[in-house]
């Protein structure tokens, strides 16, 4: 990633590199063009094509679908349910996640690294597995069956928070960790209470990161589809589940197109609100200081509350379903044992590959996706981090930012089916990408890009522009300013972004589930296939494979965390 960013503005190699020194405008142009082209080909065009089909009847524009779809009472109900579920899920994730970010990124305690990796695990679990992990606790007779939560909105919201907790912890934590502690210390020295310091100094400084996290979570919640269907059922259907049903089951592209537009409006509104909130709170921060972590101070009421909230969230909400999964994976027809794990090494009857082999495929595909996402997302973050003087240019930069968030807010089925109709000859080239393994990686990258942007951007934006000005005044050419100021700071967010992008790719969000899969299945696909077959062995192997996926994710995230040693600026 660091090398990627270093070469970022000049991805077309040496020629452009020279130009960057001579004419920065050209380099910036390329920095904008590469991501825009990527998004245009692999997102905008497929979505436009499939939505367009819904609005064209016999070669004519036909918008009567709007009247028809809006006349259905169900439409209004699903729009309302989408907003309520997404709002509750976001609120829950932020309320639990901000204290979590404090504990995991501002406090020092043994096992912190492992815990940081652990909270990311729910993020990658396939929905069918989350269904097993949650629902087997919640059904009658389950450990928490007495609560009567199975098939309720509460269950959906809990699962949404389970899934998105890490998004808040990581996005906010990455910022919190490098807030200069001296500002807080000064406030305290001047007599402010810890509560007052928190509300008037710390939280305002974290505002952009919290808004960033909240907008990501909102998009994930608003487009959650498996989670809603598995835990709540269609009664609590959302715009996303409705699009899925209209497209895959009824092939009613007209209704699906109208709903896609509705979804786009909801998402755009959410992004605008989040953008405003970010802009209001955004400012240059002193982030150059050393990473400030201190031992847990349980005597201080605020610390105690943060630790308590985090303990409840991590143990109750995250660990309980995951432990449930592990326990179930150890149960075999012959009693307790590792048989299910042993089964992972051998090719499952007819899956053609062993789970380990599939894990390798998953890793390779996720690596491809991560590299693409880091290049594209890194460039976007770099461009968007600038504050051009002209109003039009500033708007354009804001627009670019919002544009790259859209893949999280547009229905996966819309993108997936869009690929089907648009990727047989992308850009008019005679390459059928639809059944190519490359498309799986690209589809994963499309979803990972916004995560990279949201992780790197708050850090880049917090750089005081005067730092760059000083560097320039001292005679550094633009390329050097970029390297010594921006990249040095961005490098610290790299581990976070890397882990995030990798996790998202391993978890296969979005359009990947609708792609036609070539022979080599990834781990989530193998899990899905195993769970689709009867027999205790298949069930056990599916759960063991899920635990493997979880362990793999935690391991990779932990490694990525180690890449982000703070305080490395000087080396650049």
């Amino acid at each position: 990633m660091t090398t990627t960013l270093a070469r970022g503005p000049a991805p077309t190699a040496p020629a452009a590199g020279r130009a960057a020194r001579v004419r920065p405008a050209l380099a910036w142009g390329a920095a904008v063009a590469v991501p825009v082209l990527f998004l245009g080909v692999f997102f905008v065009q497929p979505v436009a094509e499939i939505v367009g089909r819904g609005f064209v009847t016999d070669g004519r524009l036909d918008l009567s679908g709007f009247a028809e779809v809006f006349a259905r009472p169900r439409t209004w109900r699903v729009v309302g349910q989408t907003l309520v579920q997404a709002a509750l899920g976001t609120a829950g994730a932020v309320l639990l996640g901000v204290p979590g970010a404090y504990v995991l990124y501002r406090c020092r305690f043994p096992g912190r690294g492992a815990l940081r990796a652990f909270v990311t695990v729910p993020f990658v679990l396939p929905t069918v597995v989350v269904g097993v992990a949650f629902r087997s606790l919640l059904v009658d007779g389950g450990l928490l069956g007495g609560l009567g939560l199975d098939g309720t909105v509460t269950a959906i919201v809990l699962a949404l928070v389970f899934f998105n907790y890490a998004v808040v912890v990581r996005t906010v934590g990455g910022m919190w960790e490098r807030l200069d502690e001296r500002t807080e210390q000064a406030a305290r020295a001047l007599g402010a209470s810890p509560w007052r310091v928190l509300t008037t100094v710390t939280l305002p400084a974290l505002g952009p990161a919290i808004a960033s996290a909240a907008s990501l979570v909102f998009l994930f919640c608003a487009t959650a589809f498996g989670t809603v269907l598995v835990l709540g059922g269609r009664r609590y259907g959302t715009v996303e589940t409705e699009i899925w049903i209209q497209t895959t089951q009824f092939l009613d592209l007209r209704a699906a197109a109208v709903l896609s537009v509705v979804q786009l409006v909801v998402v755009a509104a959410a992004l605008t609100v989040a953008g405003r909130a970010r802009a209001r709170t955004e400012r240059a921060l002193s982030v150059g200081g050393p990473a400030a972590a201190h031992p847990v101070r349980l005597r201080e009421p605020l610390d105690a509350v943060a630790v308590a909230v985090t303990a409840v969230a991590v143990l109750g909400l995250l660990a309980l379903p995951l432990v449930n999964l592990v326990v179930r994976s150890l149960r075999t027809p012959r009693g307790w044992g590792l048989d299910n794990y042993a089964a992972l090494a051998v090719p499952q009857d007819t899956l053609a590959v062993s789970a380990w082999h599939a894990a390798g495929t998953s890793l390779r595909t996720a690596t491809d996706a991560t590299v693409i996402a880091l290049v594209v997302g890194g460039l976007v973050a770099l461009v968007v981090s600038r504050r051009p003087r002209g109003t039009a240019a500033r708007r354009a930069v804001g627009g670019l930012d919002a544009l790259f968030m859209l893949p999280l807010g547009v229905s996966a089925v819309t993108v997936g089916f869009g690929f089907l109709v648009a990727m047989d000859a992308p850009l008019g080239l005679p390459v059928d990408l639809r059944t190519s393994p490359a498309l799986v990686a690209v589809a994963q990258a499309v979803v990972a890009v916004p995560l990279v942007v949201r992780t790197v951007l708050p850090v880049l934006r917090a750089i005081d522009p005067r730092q760059r000005e000083v560097a320039a005044t001292l005679g550094a050419p633009p390329g050097r300013v970029l390297r010594t100021v921006d990249l040095a700071v961005a490098a610290r967010a790299v581990g976070l972004a890397l882990g995030f992008a990798f996790a998202a790719s391993l978890g296969e969000f979005g359009a990947t589930s609708f792609l036609a899969r070539p022979q080599e299945p990834t781990l989530p696909v193998v899990i899905f296939r195993l769970l689709g077959r009867p027999g205790a062995e298949n069930y056990g192997a599916a759960l063991a494979a899920s635990v493997l996926l979880a362990a793999l994710t935690a391991g990779i995230v932990a490694v990525c965390e180690r890449l982000r040693r703070p305080g490395i600026g000087g080396a650049w």
Binding site: T3, V128, G131, V132, R135, S136, V139, G141, G142, G145, G151, V230, G233, R234, I245, T248, Q249, F250, R328, R331, P333, D349, T350, T361, R364, T365, T367, D368, V371, L420, V421, D424, A425, V431, D432, R434, T435, S436, P437, A438, A491, G495, L498, F514, A516, R517, P518, Q519, P521, V525, P534, A536, E537, Y539, G540, V559, L563, R564, G567, I568
Partner: protein
């Protein structure tokens, strides 16, 4: 690690990533794309199918050796969505042969002209003809396998409670079976749809909705998909759920023989079944229609037909292969499954699903 090594570690990692990419899926992607016009005698043939497709090791390879064809399999998660994807890609088909269109979606595939007639020469073709879609006179869809979607009961549960298990659809309305049944949602699950069709076949166009209202009032649970229902809600499949009656297949019981026992823990209720037939067909506009026809013949060959029960939990259409012993014993097909004509399904599916949703989900 000192802080100075941070960037170098990051650099090393980035380099490793790039290096990995070189040997990863992107790097090999092109070689595997189906439209690479193969130089071998038969070229490449692409099979488009659903996630449940699979054959025992070596079978496909043997076919490749015998035919000189290279087989590329592309799989799609959702069987219901498969036909819709084929309809959408009619002008530029995803492959040459499709396998896995069932009788609930067969009419749509035929009406949309997704598949074209093929010359099937395998001996089992005559058996396949028994299951031909009415109206498909040219044989665009060829039956490959079938199964009965039936309610399954956890016999152990009923024995432990001293309750007689239900046997028919009607008996499930008995208050004795209150809160005991779980089925997957017919809108999001293909066996779920098959069971809805069973009730349409059993109670007729005017009666089935009333039956479902009765089920609902007797504590019916609707799960999202087959896996949720079978593993999480059902008591007899290893997931320890609370309900002893679940919608599954006639072929499910043999895998529930407990360790050390010889009788399955579960049984299929053969008076509650809908027959699901899976078809294959050569795609209209296929690049390699001859190869597709060869592959179709292969699917009807004795080798594949005999392999289908073990690998896909379906019954072969061929009458010349033997079922596995435990299937012959514990997984008989229904003698008189409920039927609904494919044309009726195509015409009313959306209306029925919508009525079902209004009745059961509310």
């Amino acid at each position: 690690m000192t802080t100075h090594r941070g960037p170098r570690a990051a650099l090393a990692a980035a380099t490793t990533l790039v290096a990995l990419t070189a040997c990863s899926a992107l790097g090999t992607g092109d070689a595997a794309t189906p439209d690479a016009t193969g130089g071998t005698s038969g070229g490449t043939v692409t099979l488009v199918t659903h996630e449940s497709f699979g054959l025992s090791d070596g079978l496909l390879e043997k076919f490749e050796q015998d035919s000189g064809l290279t087989v590329q399999v592309v799989q799609q998660a959702d069987a219901g969505a498969l036909v819709n994807q084929l309809v959408l890609t009619k002008d530029a088909p995803l492959g040459d042969l499709v396998y896995g269109i069932d009788n609930a979606f067969a009419s749509r595939a035929l009406d949309e002209g997704v598949v074209v007639p093929a010359d099937v020469t395998a001996p089992a073709a005559a058996d396949a003809q028994t299951y031909a879609v009415p109206g498909d006179d040219d044989g665009a869809l060829t039956a490959i396998d079938l199964s009965d979607v039936c309610l399954n009961v956890d016999s152990t549960w009923f024995a432990d409670k001293g309750v007689t298990p239900p046997t028919t659809l009607e008996s499930l309305l008995d208050p004795a079976y209150r809160d005991l049944v779980v089925v997957p949602d017919p809108v999001t699950s293909s066996p779920g749809l098959a069971f809805l069709l069973a009730t349409v076949g059993a109670f007729g166009e005017d009666g089935w909705a009333g039956y479902w209202a009765g089920l609902r009032d007797n504590g019916l649970k609707v799960a999202d998909g087959w896996s949720d229902a079978y593993y999480t809600d059902f008591s007899g499949a290893g997931g320890d759920g609370p309900r002893p009656v679940v919608l599954s297949y006639a072929s499910s019981p043999p895998v529930t023989v407990p360790e050390g026992g010889d009788t399955p823990r579960t049984a299929a209720l053969l008076d509650t079944c809908f027959r699901q037939v899976e078809y294959a067909g050569v795609l209209a506009g296929a690049k390699n229609p001859e190869g597709a026809a060869q592959l179709l013949d292969f699917l009807l060959s004795d080798d594949v037909q005999a392999d289908i029960p073990g690998s896909m939990y379906m019954y072969p259409v061929s009458s010349s292969v033997d079922l596995p012993d435990d299937w012959a014993r514990w997984a008989p097909l229904a003698e008189k499954p409920f039927e609904v004509a494919p044309a009726d399904i195509a015409e009313h599916r959306e209306e029925w699903l919508s009525t079902w949703s209004d009745t059961v989900i509310g």
